[in-house]
Amino acid sequence: MDSLGFVRLTRALGAATLLGGLAGCGSLQKDIDVPLPAYANELVVECYLENGRVPRLTVTESVPYLDNSQAAAAGSYLLKLSNGQSVQLPADVAVKLVLPSGRTMNMAFKPGMDETTGKYYTHIGTAPITARAGQQFALDAQDQRGRHVTGTAVVPTFIPIDSVKYKFNAESDTSRRAYFMTKWTDPAATTDYYRLMLHKGRPSNNSETDNDIRDRLFNGQPYAQVTRYRFRPNDTVTATLYHVDSLYFDFRQSVRNARNANGNPFSQPSGIHSTVQGGVGVFTVLVKDQKRLILR
């Protein structure tokens, strides 16, 4: 049971004891003033390279948590998103990508949106890249305020999905649902890390499930990831299996732990394990296999 479940349960106990009409004691949650110490903004880099694609990169700035985005730091500006969120974009960051050949590709500051992924980016390369397993890329991002982020990423090997399948439950009405299984074979010689995402419809939409998996318990064996009964008849489900490196896996875990700790009194907060140095963020190469099924 997670912390919210725990809080819900204990409140249910409280509610059960308060049937006599004492429930009007007011809310158990309230907004408070928290005087946080000063926080120095850091450069945040997010870059996922893929073979055959023009590299794109997002450079933003971290901000004090309770900052309400009224003003941007000098050299940066605020990007207002459609949902009201704002992101602080530094406009003075020069980014270089060092290819496996040793050649440097300068990435221009041209904020835009990637039509394929639906993602925003701030910097874009000049040509598609070639990424083969074992090759190393390097990143260098530097602004005019002395902040300097560097990182390297090695191309993982390709791990194919062996099979995908689904099965509906016995219901015949609107509660008819299917589980979905994705199966692949883990190589025995290496310690491997995976990210498996299932999407309904276009992969650019929110994923239905998103799991980070390491092979500690099934090294060298076939492995199957099974969902709950959650998909409806005629759903199109796309399974995307990424074979990732340990740095990206750690980054993902630390992001998850950090997000879970905000609001979970039982969780120990975690620092962010960035794959880059000098700032916060991730620089990695994605290698994936995809399979799609229409559930009938």
């Binding site: 907004d31 099965k167 709950r228 990424y242 950090a258």
Partner: protein, 781 residues
């Protein structure tokens, strides 16, 4: 072990060996026996005294006592809280046994009135310091959350003891973490003494007799944990008649049955309890069924059973049995076929044989088994996922009590435990075998302890207790051992003022794997191994006790300093579930705790109670290690149970023979917590909405607001029913002035209600319990 510690150990060993050589030349005989209530139950903590010569003692946990008295006629007075005192004229011509049976006083709840002043006097004159004795009767009078009497939560009202958080029964004693408490039920370890994430303890108030909490100066017979000993004793059944008792509360009900065995040669007690808030949650789920944003609350309940039996085999031999079985059960079945079952709990049993060789020499031998386990089973269609952990102990021990003369009380003993650790058991499988893998990490360890101690009355003013414990642990080819000296002393400046001091060194060979800071059912116990060395602590404490107001009040001030090494924590983001390489997740560091505890008690008169104030500091340090930066880059930090100030005020007032009023007030400084300083936006691989990811600074750099709460209670004794027996109604109001104490704080987006657009960020404080009234009906017939 360092040279200095070794030297200290040797000195204390010599003290223990040499002190018994001193004795008196007067003709004296030993008077021994047992003090029981009229129903045959043994009464621990009763006072047995000979006022004419100023000698007295308190009965042991099993009601036995020993007094070394001059030959000739002696008038012996026995008194105990809630019972009418009894006087006996005994002519001592040889060592002899004399048993006492005390009748309950007129008002069953009048314990606070009749308790003799000698109990405070006893406390003044004992060498033992840092100990709190609590009878279940006191706990039953005090107000309780949901009306559930909880002896561990009552201990939290004593100085030097912190709770783990709102409503939690976890104990944090003098800067120790909750896994550093040796919680024992009739001398058998209870690994997880909590139900429902620590909201309730596993001890059923109907079955418990009393609890002793040792915070310092640990007697040598105790070992294996760093910070405290919580010694819970079950009561014995009625030896004279069959009795049924119980209670009906808002969330649980209790039922006990007890009676004689073989015409009073023995007695038994069985007691059970079950919650029924699964009925409430099911009703809530039914009421909200069909609502789109409503996620059902899982079924949850817990139950526990206690059993105790004793049988007198002969004048010199007695058998005792104690058993406990408790389970917490979560169950969830989704309408579309997903099932989840989560079960956890303790089971224990112990058989003890007591043989009295002579009034001077008593042997207790016992064999015990205790286990804690949890099992989580999820299944869907043909696929299943099982996760679990177990610890199983088999323990044998022998304890010899020897009283050679009135100046010495010698205790010698040995114990051996076989631990079986099922650290991680994970299985993922399918019926068609398309998925089948798992892990099963098991260890075995042997833990041994050998101890000797002597309580030596050097003079009327000076009393010393020296002890030595040799402990060892082996797991596979890894073996550890240590010498644990224990010492305490009392010097009486007058018959009203006593100075005390103590020292104790403790080793802990079994460790709790938990990075939650709370007691969770998924906690795992782990042995000391090559890379996980035993934890070790040392504590010195000193204090002064002052009997005030003609002996009605006892004012005690104790100062302590505790330091520990090899204390355990976990790496940032440690993976402790389904990890067959847990060794790599530990961090090892040092700890310090120091403070001052001021304690004023009143135990006689219509109004009794206590006031305790603690000023304390607790610190930890985990330097960089194992490729990590440690915790907070190796800087000292305050763990989340550090509290600078802690004030407890407890008042019990007997309004008349039928009504008792009680109140307790708690104030503590805010708990250290970790709040994010910054955030950054993460898009991830696909655009699925930008996530705000918190950036946390060093651990525990922020403090929650101070915690304070007033609880009120009333016990109303009803007139006997037609069937006879006693009945009462117990009213409790938890958090009487409805204080919004902070359970935790989180940061969240604020949104415009009309457009649902993000407008900013806010800090939100969550409280767990508002004012909660409760009513419990108790009966006994």
């Amino acid at each position: 072990m360092s040279r200095i510690a070794l030297r200290n150990s040797v000195l204390i060993s010599l003290l223990v060996v040499l002190l018994p050589g001193l004795s008196l030349g007067q003709v004296r005989y030993l008077l021994s026996g047992i003090v029981r209530a009229a129903d045959g139950t043994a009464l621990p903590g009763a006072t047995v005294a000979v006022p004419a010569i100023g000698l007295g003692t308190a009965t042991e946990a099993d009601g036995t006592y020993q007094l070394n008295l001059p030959a000739g006629p002696q008038q012996v007075v026995v008194s105990f809280v809630g019972y009418t005192s009894q006087t006996a004229d005994v002519k001592l011509t040889h060592n002899q046994r004399y048993n006492f049976t005390l009748a309950a006083s007129q008002s069953e709840l009048g314990e606070v009135m009749v308790r003799g002043q000698q109990s405070l006097k006893e406390k003044l004159t004992t060498t033992q310091m840092g100990v709190e004795h609590l009878s279940i009767r006191e706990a039953k009078l005090l107000p309780a959350l949901f009306g559930e009497v909880d002896i561990l939560k009552t201990l939290q009202l004593k100085p030097g003891v912190q709770s783990g958080g709102e409503g939690s029964s976890g104990l944090f004693v003098r800067g120790g973490s909750s896994d550093q408490n040796l919680v024992a039920l009739d001398n058998v370890l209870v690994y997880n003494p909590n139900h429902l994430f620590g909201l309730f303890s596993v001890f059923n108030s109907d079955a418990v007799q009393s609890v002793d909490l040792y915070k310092a100066g640990f007697p040598a017979q105790f070992g294996g944990r760093l910070s405290s000993v919580v010694d819970v004793k079950l009561r014995e059944g009625d030896r004279q008649k069959f009795t049924t008792s119980g209670g009906i509360g808002l969330i649980s009900s209790r039922l006990s049955f007890e009676g004689p065995i073989n015409k009073g040669k023995g007695s038994f007690l069985v007691s059970g309890r079950r919650t029924y808030f699964d009925i409430f949650t099911r009703a809530l789920n039914r009421a909200n069924a069909g609502k789109e944003d409503y996620s059902p609350i899982p079924d949850y309940y817990f139950y526990d059973f206690n059993a105790k039996a004793n049988y007198t085999l002969g004048e010199k031999d007695q058998l005792f049995f104690t058993g406990y079985l408790g389970r917490d059960i979560f169950g969830f079945t989704s309408p579309n076929g997903f099932k989840s079952n989560f079960t956890w709990g303790n089971t224990l049993g112990v058989l003890r044989w007591q043989h009295v060789f002579s009034p001077k020499l008593t042997l207790n031998t016992s064999a015990a088994v205790t286990t804690y386990k949890y099992d989580l089973n999820n299944s869907i269609d043909q696929f299943s996922f099982n996760l679990g952990s177990t610890i199983l102990d088999f323990t044998q021990r022998a304890d010899l009590d020897y009283v050679p003369n009135e100046r010495h009380t010698i205790k010698v003993g040995a114990m051996l435990t076989e631990h079986q650790f099922g650290v991680g058991r994970l299985q993922r499988s399918s019926q068609d075998n398309s998925v089948n893998f798992g892990a099963d990490v098991n260890y075995v360890g042997q833990e041994a302890g050998l101890y000797a101690s002597d309580n030596f009355k050097a003079s009327e003013k000076l009393q010393l207790e020296g002890g030595l414990r040799l402990s060892g642990f082996r797991s596979g080819s890894d073996a550890y051992g240590g010498i644990e000296p224990r010492a305490s002393a009392r010097y009486s400046l007058s018959d009203k003022v006593a100075l005390k001091g103590s020292y104790a060194l403790m080793y802990q060979y079994v460790h709790l794997v938990s990075n939650s800071g709370a007691s969770l059912p998924t906690d795992i116990w782990y042995p000391s191994r090559l890379s996980v060395r035993p934890e070790r602590s040392q504590q010195v404490s000193t204090g002064v006790s002052y009997l005030l107001g003609d002996g009605k009040y006892l004012l005690t001030n104790e100062v302590y300093y505790k330091w520990a090494r090899n204390v355990i924590d976990f790496k940032d983001g440690a993976q402790i579930f389904a990890n067959n390489d847990l060794d790599s997740q530990f961090l090892f560091g040092r700890g310090w705790a120091y403070g001052n505890e001021l304690y004023l008690e009143k135990k006689t008169g219509k109004t009794t109670g206590w006031v305790g104030y603690t000023l304390a500091w607790t610190k930890r340090n985990f330097p960089p290690q194992l490729g990590t930066t440690g915790i907070n880059n190796g800087k000292d930090f305050y763990p989340n149970y550090d509290r600078r100030h802690n004030l407890n005020v407890v008042v019990l007032h007997q309004l008349n023979t039928r009504i008792d009023l009680t109140a307790s007030f708690v104030y503590t400084s805010g708990a250290p917590t970790t709040l994010p300083l910054g955030r950054f936006a993460l898009q991830d691989i696909y655009q699925g909405g930008i996530q705000a990811v918190p950036i946390y600074p060093d651990r525990n750099t922020y403090r929650l607001i101070p915690y304070h709460r007033l609880d009120l209670g009333m016990v109303y004794k009803l007139r006997p029913s037609r069937m006879g027996g006693n009945r009462d109604l117990t009213f409790s109001i938890y958090n009487a002035y409805n204080r919004r104490n902070a359970y935790f704080i989180y940061f969240d987006q604020t949104r415009d209600k009309a457009t649902d657009k993000v407008t900013g960020y806010a800090a939100r404080q969550v409280s767990l319990f508002p004012l909660i009234p409760s009513l419990t009906y108790n009966f006994r017939f």
